[in-house]
């Protein structure tokens, strides 16, 4: 029977993501309607102080950048078709160092694909979406509790590093209702920007040894702010390729990569003595958890590694994977995007895939994949 502190409710991931982002300090949500982010948009209209309908996704990102540059934390959400339109403006925001979160809910592609069918086909798009190959931090919830915690981590990381961050999810995560005891949800702190203080010299991109520059909003009364999407020096003045400007651009790479340990999230369910690990993320993690139970129930040893920080690839992931003879990478696409991200295009004897499109991968299919890879060839 219900215990005193329990608060069992029936809810979806969209609700948790928006609530967590609001508590983290999201001040504006700008959306353009697209399935499967409809429930995120609906929740944002109730919860986020300013919730706007943009006329297209390019505008959505430009408005988001405008809000961010004036000190308001913006969130937007889309699926691949809309995200594709946003990419140039995400590059702009990355270069200007404007914090924001873009929620990308994957659905079956290519192109418009199937709006109401889930998928995991956008990982490498994110890996390559910044010209020059720089990583955006990308977080990926693997269950309802992660919808809460990774949403908060997204906002905090965006604010701390002054960068756009992507929360990568999928139709099945944001449009499925499940029971959850919400009394156990962690408290979320509001993310506060590191502000420039005092009347001393201010250069918009002057970092003084930090990874990201302190912030001042456009329109403040004390210092001129120069935001710039073109290659620029520390003042924010456009430069072709001066050493100072190239150094600033290099810092954009470094600030994301050098701090990855601070935002590395994963779940490692280690079975002592297991020679095989199931590696997965997002919606496929839930099936993998049941596959692990199935295998262990029949006396077969297996470990599970769920990545919740996908990009940049945390070095810790390679450390963990190195302990296993077989790695079975489970993802809802037929190309093997995570496999390619981690191991390139070359075939490896110890790297295996369980892949599928059009339906979620089932636990028995993952268990079968694990058994297959361990068969002597």
């Amino acid at each position: 029977m219900t215990t005193v502190n329990e608060r069992m409710v029936f809810l979806d991931g969209s609700r948790l993501i928006i609530e967590a982002m609001a508590r983290s300090g999201a001040g504006a949500y700008i959306g353009y309607p697209i399935t499967p982010v409809n429930w995120l948009f609906a929740g944002a209209k109730q919860r986020i102080p300013i919730a706007l309908e943009a006329p297209d996704e390019i505008t959505a990102l430009q408005w988001a950048a405008g809000f961010s540059s004036s000190g308001v934390f913006p969130v937007t959400a889309s699926a691949f078709p809309g995200f594709a339109l946003m990419i140039e403006s995400i590059n702009m925001s990355f270069m200007m160092e404007l914090p924001m979160v873009i929620i990308l809910a994957q659905r079956l592609g290519p192109s418009t694909g199937s709006a109401t069918t889930g998928g995991q086909g956008d990982l490498l798009l994110l890996r390559g979406c910044i010209s020059g190959g720089y990583s955006l931090p990308v977080f990926c919830p693997s269950n309802l509790n992660d919808c809460w915690e990774m949403a908060a981590a997204s906002v905090h990381t965006a604010v701390n590093l002054r960068t756009p961050v992507v929360l990568l999810t999928s139709k099945e995560m944001v449009m499925t209702n499940q029971n959850m005891d919400i009394s156990g949800l962690k408290e979320i702190e509001r993310a506060e920007r590191h502000m420039h203080e005092g009347n001393g010299e201010y250069k918009t991109y002057g970092v003084n040894g930090n990874l990201a520059p302190p912030f001042l909003p456009l329109g403040n009364d004390l210092h001129q702010v120069r935001l710039n999407a073109s290659t620029h020096d520390m003042e924010g003045i456009t430069q072709k390729n001066s050493p100072e400007a190239l150094g600033n651009t290099e810092r954009l790479k470094n600030k994301i990569e050098q701090s990855v340990d601070e935002y590395t999230y994963y779940e490692h369910d280690r079975d002592e003595g297991a020679d095989t690990v199931i590696l997965t993320y997002g919606i496929s993690a839930e099936a993998a958890r049941e596959a692990v139970d199935l295998l262990r129930a029949s006396g077969e040893s297996v470990s599970l590694l769920v990545m919740k920080t996908l990009l940049p690839v945390p070095p810790r992931i390679y450390e963990l994977l190195s302990a296993y003879r077989h790695v079975v990478v489970v993802e809802e696409n037929i190309v093997g995007l995570l496999r390619e991200l981690l191991y390139g295009n070359r075939q490896h004897d110890r790297i295996h895939g369980v892949n599928k499109i059009g339906h979620m991968i089932a636990p028995r299919e993952i268990a079968e994949g694990v058994r297959q890879c361990r068969k002597p060839s």
Binding site: E19, I48, Q62, D221, L227, S230
Partner: protein, 417 residues
């Protein structure tokens, strides 16, 4: 002396370029109005117009080609009631690629000023014509090109701009600038200019080439601002589901409820899930319906389990509740050997071939529950027959619903039938 928004560096433009004059006019107008540089935000586009960015002493943001107006809208909404002057600078190329943004800014009538410096040409990339080029302006390589340009002043005015003006370089524009900058709402100034690299070198030549007129329109209307709400928690409003009774279910039960749009299939699925939670089980539910949600099938997939549920997919369900032909057509391929099908009587003949006794139960659920209550009636009937969940769990779940009283009547009728 009033500080100006232009520093004393040399303008980066070709000799005779209209942009030099336009920028000086902007700076002078702001100085005449006594506006301090830190009270100005200039949003500049890609293209020659944006080259002024390093010379500005005000706040600057230099973004993408064509998006300056959209970015300026975001800044204006972010700064809300601030009286800072926001000025977006674009060329005719930027205005062409970003035309939607220009119309949107006018429609919302946000308080900002857009200056389109129309020299009829893409000056950085080889002198191509834009959507704002005059029919009289010819590219050297395509002299036949004579598609009329957009009249952006007319477009902006129609879209709701508070103020629009078109003027020509070489005329005194100070008053236009001041009026635009002091008009509440969206103001647009189009300045028809010369590009000495690809166009013409004399003002008279410009006037001969340009087939636009000088215009000023005024349209006083309320200034747009986003609505700001005090967001309500999305969790506080959720009524906790008390665990008040017990279900005999030990393992996992997968149920598909299928019908047509408008037949409350999703609510029936929610109700069944809530009943399961009331009886101490874990529950998941997902909906499946065409993208046009008002027509065609509606399917709810529900899983009830004694153990926590991770994987929420159903291949071949244990129970299938089907109340319409749309629903049957959608889910018939998922009926397995072990699936118990509970269906509306009308579907009986067709289902007998697919399922057949003892795995088929048909009743006139539409008669019991009506079209909106047939699925609930079928669920109640099934629970009464099989006892997977106590019927009071379903009644308890119904009592949480805004139409709970009607639902309880249907449950009672279904149980009694």
């Amino acid at each position: 002396m009033q500080e100006t928004i232009l520093n004393d560096l040399k303008m980066p433009y070709c000799p005779g370029c209209g942009h030099t004059v336009a920028n000086k006019s902007m700076s002078k107008a702001l100085a005449d109005m006594g506006v301090h540089p830190l009270d100005v935000i200039v949003v500049s586009d890609i293209g020659c117009t944006g080259l002024v960015d390093p010379l500005l002493t005000c706040h600057t943001i230099h973004g993408l080609h064509g998006r300056a107006v959209a970015l300026a809208m975001g800044i204006r909404m972010g700064l809300e009631h601030s009286d800072k002057k926001i000025i977006a600078l674009q060329g005719d190329g930027g205005a062409t690629i970003g035309l939607q943004h220009l119309l949107e800014a006018a429609r919302h009538n946000l308080d900002l000023t857009l200056v389109v410096q129309n020299n009829m040409v893409y000056g950085m990339t080889g002198g191509q014509t834009s959507g704002l080029s005059s029919t009289e302006f010819k590219e050297p390589d395509r002299p036949e090109s004579a598609v009329p340009g957009y009249d952006i002043c007319a477009l902006a005015q129609n879209a709701g701009a508070a103020y629009t003006a078109r003027t020509f370089i070489g005329t005194d524009t100070a008053e236009l600038w001041k009026e635009a900058l002091s008009t509440p709402g969206f103001s647009l100034i189009e300045i028809v200019e010369m590009c000495p690299a690809y166009g013409m070198r004399k003002v008279q030549e410009l006037h001969d080439t340009a087939d636009y007129e000088s215009v000023v329109t005024r349209n006083p209307r309320a200034v747009g601002l986003p609505h700001k709400a005090i967001g309500r928690s999305l969790l506080d409003g959720l009524k906790p589901i008390e665990h008040t009774c017990e279900a005999p279910l030990d393992g996992r039960l997968e149920i598909i409820v299928a019908g047509s749009a408008g037949e409350a299939i999703q609510s029936a699925g929610d109700l069944l899930s809530t009943a399961g939670i009331t009886a101490g089980l874990s529950a998941t539910k997902k909906g499946d319906y065409p993208i046009t949600i008002g027509t065609g099938f509606s399917v709810a997939e529900v899983i009830l389990s004694r153990q926590p549920i991770h994987y929420t997919g159903i291949d071949c369900p244990d129970i299938m509740i089907v109340i319409s032909q749309d629903g049957l057509d959608k889910v018939r391929s998922r009926i397995g050997e072990h699936t118990l099908v509970i269906a509306d009587a009308k579907l009986g003949p067709e289902l007998e071939e697919l399922a057949g006794p003892p795995n088929l139960v048909t009743r006139d659920f539409r008669k019991t529950g009506g079209s909106k209550g047939a699925a609930l009636a079928a669920i109640a009937h099934w629970l009464q027959d099989n006892g997977f969940l106590p019927i009071e769990a379903l009644v308890e779940a119904a009592s949480r619903h805004k139409h709970g009283d009607k639902m309880k009547v249907i449950i009672d009728k279904a149980v009694a039938a």
